[in-house]
Amino acid sequence: MQEVENIVNGKELFKKPEYQKVLADKKAFEGAMGAVNPGKVEEIAEWTKSWEYREKNLAREAITVNPAKACQPLGAVMVALGFENTMPYVHGSHGCVAYFRSYFTRHFKEPTPCVSDSMTEDAAVFGGLVNMKDGLKNCAALYKPDMIMVSTTCMAEVIGDDLFAFASAAKEEDGGEFLPEDFPIPYAHTPSFVGSHITGYDNMMQGTLQQLNEGMKGEKTDTINIIPGFETYIGSIRSIKSIADAFGANYTMIGDHSDQWDMPAGNYEMFAGGTKIEDAKQAINAKATLSMQKYATTKTMKMITKRWKQKESANLNPIGLKGTDEFVMKLAELTGKEVPESLKTERGRLVDAMQDSYPYMHGKKFAIWGDPDFLIGMVSFLLEMGAEPTHVLCHNAPRGWEDEMRALLDTSPAAADCHVWAGKDLWHMRSLLFTEPVDFMIGNSYGKELMRDTGTPLIYIGFPIFDRHHLHRYSISGYDGALNLLTWITNKVLDQLDEETKGIASTDYFFDLIR
């Protein structure tokens, strides 16, 4: 029973003897193997750690277990929230939207506005035109956005709804009451059964830029577009902006959700910050567009370089020292300016820190998973520190990624022991960790069970992160972002060193005060 002076929640409550008895007694009615024959559970648990199991596991053709990817419309919602007063609108079932909103909200600890047009069985049969007409009108009336960005769930994709025709019909029927003729409603088809959330980001970004810039081609400006990609680190967007600011560059961050998912307390407004619509409409006239995540913007960048003919555009990846250097040099080239002193100093400080901490990362084996661009940047950084990325796993690896990662790993002296796992999931990773163990894992919250099962310490870097707070507020890009990475990783190594040496009168000679 609870003691009123010390009320405890389930964590401690269920340790009390009366509850331990409840849990033990319950087993008499259970049919799970653990209740019937615990020895068998141990035996199978051991087997799952074996090379034999690994071979069977890696041979899986159909079932995905513990994935490390999500579906397209999630990325489309992120794009929409990067534009000023823009409501993401998902044409399809509202169940999907409830999921997108929960998912982002759990990561950012921020509200995530997004509507759906609640298609149900009749819409699946007759199409979602009525839903779209009512939905756009209601959304505009209630939330008064300046733009509505339409993406689709797989239900709408399977039945093949025509978004452009539907949006036009909605405007026509509304007659300008809530949806004026020129009200922007960019749309993109984002089928969940193709690619992943980054594909949805790309499709929505490409569709938006194309549609907003139709007929806008004019005088070339000296503006540089910067597209952050599916960026889940608010601080990274700010780091990139501060680098561009240091150059005094004239730039537009296209799809800037850094204020939307980082609102100060005090009062609540549904939308904050974001790329201004009029700026987005000038994207076509910029002198160059820089993508910070090439695999999340493949289609978008193809349009920009091929159709918009922005010759100086480039794909960059400002995670780690070299990636940031390349971004900085690209800006120097595009602005025609020297690298500013402030950045030179910042770089120098980062390198100084790397030279202070290198002994702790050098030679350490890492397993890492996440989105393709994130991995390219992170692995570069690990290599810059002399670490060994033993297992690099990308569930949503696009074409070309595996080769690029392999080439990157081949620059390591430990190349032979560094493995690329494209299209594999986190249950595969479990086998890899048991058979070819590493010192640390870098990944998202889904690594938690791997940490428990294999005992490998997890460094929380990635998306989504649900069970640690505020990491998403920091940067992992630019020199300051690299310093954060260095700090998190090094200190986790040191924490682990303490863990392993704290045994009193046995190992604590190495439990050093100074390191």
């Binding site: 609870q2 199978i44 419309p73 509200p111 759906s116 959304c139 797989c154 399977v158 059964f193």
Partner: protein, 490 residues
């Protein structure tokens, strides 16, 4: 002029909210909003609201889908079975391990609740059909997870649209393998919310678990006169465990939990019990009615939130049994009363008179009212994501005062009601949490107990009281206004 009455303020708020809508939507929403009065016999449902209707498009509903109702709520917590999210990758990923359905087991070996199994549909599966892939999925699961006691196939939207026959595929594989395979046609577009998913899932338990042929592990349960099953408790934060202990203390034997910390064996043998105890009426009344009709097992609704309702429920449950059990129930009530008194004495002075607005799903919009009122708090607004009329009828008996009732409330409405009625605490889900916290309003997630709990039973009530106090009396809310702004005000 006297102060505006609560009732008048609530009615005005409803009227004002409706003004924001275009005509067609306003007409629809008007039927879902109302003001409930505890004494008002003229009201057919609480506040006369209508429910279980299609959501108005474009309004930011908080509702989920049938898949969420089946995989997320009913089936997902069954621990010794593998549940495949059948279709594209997203659904399973977004719903993974979010509900805190606690269980004891070796995850990945003999239990699987927090894992995510997906058939990860690609374009070719949509074009050519996914039945072969499903077959292969089932095979691979049995090979890699040999201790699973069955597999369910939770359909996502495309399955029903592309003409796949998961029923036939499952049947063939079940016959070949001898395993229990449960196909569930819970595509997200079916129905208007999670609710139909609960119903579909209930029906599949009836068809594949009660009628199952696979031998169950261990000894069969020898029935006793005192066997009961807990139905509709998902063991969020351990709720079913803090309920179970009370039932066992009064001499009953809980042979099954549905479906938090459940095994298929417990469910399969439930038709042997003497009484079904139904906590979440909405999601599991179907199977309870079935067992009543088919096996003659009576069922009784109960409420283990807060001491007033817990005491009432213990007595109601005991009334189905002999005098020994009835006497035991009194002993249990007596045993915990001093603790309850101490909890109330400790927290009531800190919480008394604080007003609360709720918006949750299932049973909580009415069931938790008593727990707040036991602490002297006043619930002034409540509503359900996916209730039916019978839920709103039951709500009428649980409210204490004029209460604004909002069915399938959306972001706009809830924000407007909160701004107008100014409660001291909002208790709802994750999607709304940070909206209200930004406004400086104390907030508790009432789907997941905000990563605390359990809240059921006497021990749970103590935690509930402590958590509400934590939320309302935390110093953090006072920091929203900066000192320079405070000076300006002065």
């Amino acid at each position: 002029m006297g102060p505006e009455t609560l009732d008048a303020k609530q009615k005005a708020a409803v009227e004002e909210v409706l003004k924001a809508y275009p005509a067609k939507a306003a007409k629809n929403r008007a039927k879902h909003l109302g003001v409930g009065g505890p004494e008002d016999e003229s009201q057919k449902t609480c506040g006369n609201v209508r429910s279980n209707k299609k959501t108005v498009p474009g309004v930011m509903s908080q509702r989920g889908c049938a898949y969420a109702g089946s995989k997320g709520v009913v089936w997902g917590p069954v621990k010794d079975m593998v549940h495949i999210s059948h279709g594209p990758i997203g659904c399973g990923q977004y719903s993974r391990a979010g509900r805190r359905n606690y269980y004891i087991g070796t995850t990945g070996v003999d239990t699987f609740v927090t894992m995510n199994f997906s058939s990860d549909f690609q374009e070719k599966d949509i074009v050519f059909g996914g039945d072969k892939k499903l077959s292969k999925c089932l095979e691979e699961i049995d090979e890699l997870f040999p201790l699973n006691n069955g597999i369910t196939v939770q359909s996502e939207c495309p399955i029903g649209l592309i003409g796949d026959d998961i029923n036939a595929t499952s049947k063939v594989y079940a016959k070949e393998s001898g395993n229990t395979i449960v196909p569930v046609n819970c595509e997200g577009f079916r129905g208007v919310s999670q609710s139909l998913g609960h119903h579909i899932a209930n029906d599949t338990i009836r068809d594949y678990v009660f009628e199952g042929t696979k031998p169950l592990l261990g000894e069969p349960i020898e029935p006793t006169e005192y066997d009961v099953a807990i139905i509709g408790d998902y063991n969020i934060g351990g709720d079913a465990w803090s309920s179970r202990i009370l039932l066992e203390e009064m001499g009953l034997r809980v042979t099954a939990q549905w479906s938090g910390d459940a095994t298929i064996k417990e469910m399969a043998q439930t038709p042997k019990v003497k009484l079904n105890l139904l906590h979440c009426y909405r999601s599991m009344n179907y199977i309870s009615r079935h067992m009543e009709k088919e096996y003659g097992i009576p069922w009784v609704e109960y409420n283990f939130f807060g001491p007033t309702q817990t005491i009432k429920s213990l007595r109601k449950i005991a009334s189905f049994f002999d005098e020994t059990i009835q006497a035991n129930a009194e002993k249990v009530i007596e045993k915990y009363q001093p603790m309850v008194d101490a909890v109330v004495n400790k927290y009531k002075p800190r919480l008394e008179g604080k007003q609360v607005m709720l918006f949750v799903g299932g049973l909580r919009p009415r069931h938790v009212i008593g727990a707040y009122e036991d602490l002297g708090m006043e619930v002034i607004g409540t509503g359900y994501e996916f209730a039916h009329d019978d839920d709103y009828k039951r709500t009428k008996d649980e409210i204490f005062r004029s209460t604004v009732i909002y069915d399938d409330v959306n972001e706009y409405e809830l924000e407007a009601f909160v701004k107008k009625l100014q409660p001291d605490l909002v208790a709802s889900g994750i999607k709304e949490k940070y909206v209200f916290q930004k406004m400086g309003l104390p907030y508790r997630q009432m789907h997941s107990w905000d990563y605390s709990g359990p809240y059921h039973g006497y021990d749970g009530f103590a935690i509930f009281a402590q958590d509400m106090d934590l939320a309302i009396n935390s110093p953090v809310w006072a920091h929203s206004t900066a000192p320079w702004d405070k000076e300006e005000e002065a």
